[in-house]
Amino acid sequence: MDQLIYAIEVVLNGLMTGVMYALVALGFVLIFKASGVFNYAQGVLALFAAMTLVGIQQGQVPFAHMINATFGTHLETFGWSVPSFLAILLTAVVMVLLAFLIEKLVLQHLVGQEPIILFMATIGLAYFLEGLGDVMWGADIKRLDVGLPQGISDSIEIATDKWFGYGFFIDRLDIWATAIAALLVAALVAFAQYTKQGRAMRAVADDHQAALSVGISLRFIWVMVWSIAGFVALVAGIMWGTKSGVQFSLSLIALKALPVLMLGGFTSIPGAIVGGLIIGVGEKLFEFLIGPMIGGATENWFAYVLALIFLVFRPQGLFGERIIERV
């Protein structure tokens, strides 16, 4: 009986963790949908966004370390601190700028290349941004606080204690993440499906040349999509940064988003959420039920294996577009 109640708690937490993964996966989906680019840099984008946010919030001097090393100065901060809301806004602007630069310097020159080449380019981009983030804001671990609540939710604990005789642990941050993710997904789905730009975005994903030929500006679409993806990365960065600090490993959550992506389908926005939920529950439940028998720490690979099993039955993921096979 206890086991069952525990399992329920594990499932609930799995769902919420899944939402956190989905936040990262969403960025991947957007870019893939719009350009057929598998953007490996999405994780680093989240890290970069979070670093920038903290940097702006705390009034850090960008490139301080480099300037100090070259000129022997002692710059560190401007000595002011920016309110969270404004800082988020400014960071969003930086992300748009970044999207613009990425299009200008990278994507534009790779129109029409094979997907794997574009994928590689985004890995190059990931390296670059990782280095740039460190040079700009320093490699130390930063604390991110934009006022999101964190820690166990008392009301749920008390309520469940009353019902089950065991108080469930639900993190308040996760509840927030769920709400925000739901909002994001709804907005993005509406955008992709029902607007002209959304349709253009899907057209670009199918055939760059044809899109060009009907007058869709790849440049505009890409800047737009990368900006949105940058914003999604910022949201993911805020959530994960609040959870475990802003530092290099933040970029590695991309690896947790990949199975989500695979399971949900690379091109489906709702897929990212459903995939996230399945992966979250799956890995947590497996760790809870089977983990103890085989030594634990199974989550990293189990997520992938779970996604793999789904794929064998649906090679395009649960909600991915059917892979068109014709001759």
Partner: protein
């Protein structure tokens, strides 16, 4: 004008099928072999062996392997690190279980073991394609690393889970273990790289290679003209893994000497080797070597430049190194998406026309 094929007539299909049909290329190739086997072993020192040449050769083997799978057969894999780990752990178990058998045999067997594992993880490729498959191969990566970390049998129950390669000799020369000299390390890797490159070349120029390329270019059409996708894909996985397994075995036994799976064979390895083949050129033997050379040399050179010559603090230069490597990768892809090999071929094509274009 200096580089031309005119006057190089072929009188048989056999001579038309040779690896370097142009005379100048052939001489260049012989020259490289002479330098590699005849000169470098006498002048190599520990630094060059450990920092540059040995990793270059080992990664070249891994890149050849991945290139067979990704470049020739079109199946993108991110499981390279995991498969290298299989090679490493296989050779470790073999070395410690049968100390009297030659290490060369162990390394080849380790490749064989990896081939079997590779085939197993290649099975989903029959259904799953493209990036879905690439991500799916990460399952192999993570699972294998977890397995080697978790099951003490693989690391002979050592307290920390590290594996150490004991000393083994070939023809009386130590090739593994601390006492190995730089030339010995270099030569054993060179021999493996040479033979494997030759095997790769043979496999890719014949029927098997064509089957792979057909699957890569258009799998449905390939199936309709008579390629059995099952055997084509699985053979690509097997042979690719064989190469990668050998690279993993060499990496552990000859180069590192000790390894911990998550650290030495993590996902970064998978990406590194993928980089090599893309920068070098997908579907090109030469490209595998060029890419490996590029990715091994670049950081060393950058480091020497930034820290050694410019005297920057190491952290700044490490960050800049990341930025430069990233930027260079993007730059190369923009200049020539088909890699160094294609760049080289284009240069030759231009040279042929030079100095009279068109």
């Amino acid at each position: 004008m200096f580089y031309r094929e005119a006057g190089d007539f072929k009188t048989s299909y056999r001579s038309d099928g040779q690896t370097f049909p142009i005379k100048l290329d052939r001489w260049g190739y012989y020259a490289v072999l002479v330098v590699a086997f005849g000169i470098i072993p006498f002048i190599i020192n520990d630094y060059w062996a450990s920092a540059v040449l040995v990793p270059f050769l080992i990664y070249a083997i891994a890149a050849l392997g991945l290139n067979i799978l990704t470049g020739y057969a079109g199946q993108v894999s991110l499981g390279t690190g995991g498969f290298m780990a299989v090679g490493a752990y296989a050779v470790y178990k073999l070395m410690t279980a049968f100390p009297d058998v030659s290490i060369v045999i162990h390394i080849v067997l380790a490749g064989g073991v990896t081939a079997i594992v590779g085939m197993l993880f290649g099975l989903p490729s029959l259904r799953i394609k493209g990036f879905y498959l690439a991500v799916a191969t990460l399952a192999a990566q993570f699972f294998l690393v977890w397995l080697f970390n978790k099951v003490p049998w693989f690391y002979n129950y050592s307290a920390s889970g590290q594996i150490n390669s004991p000393e083994r000799t070939v023809l009386g020369w130590a090739v593994t273990g601390p006492a190995t000299s730089a030339p010995a390390k270099y030569l054993i890797c060179l021999c493996f790289a040479f033979v494997l490159a030759w095997v790769a070349r043979n496999l890719t120029r014949g029927m098997l290679g064509r089957k792979w390329m057909a699957i890569r270019d258009m799998d449905i059409a390939a199936e309709i003209i008579g390629v059995n996708p099952l055997t084509a894909k699985l053979s690509a996985f097997a042979i690719s893994s064989f190469f990668i397994g050998i690279a993993g075995a060499l990496l552990f036994s000859v180069y590192l000497g000790a390894a911990e799976v998550g650290e030495a064979f993590g996902i970064n390895k998978s990406f590194l080797v993928l980089f090599m083949i893309i920068i070098g050129g997908l579907g090109s033997i030469f490209g595998s070597f060029a890419g490996a050379a590029f990715m091994v040399l670049l950081p060393v050179m950058l480091k020497n430049l930034l820290v050694g010559s410019l005297g920057w603090p190491t952290d700044l230069s490490a960050h800049f190194e990341l930025m430069i490597v990233g930027a260079l990768i993007v730059f190369f892809l923009i200049v020539e998406p088909h890699g160094l090999a294609r760049l080289w071929a284009l240069t030759k094509e231009k040279l042929r026309l030079w100095p009279f274009p068109h």
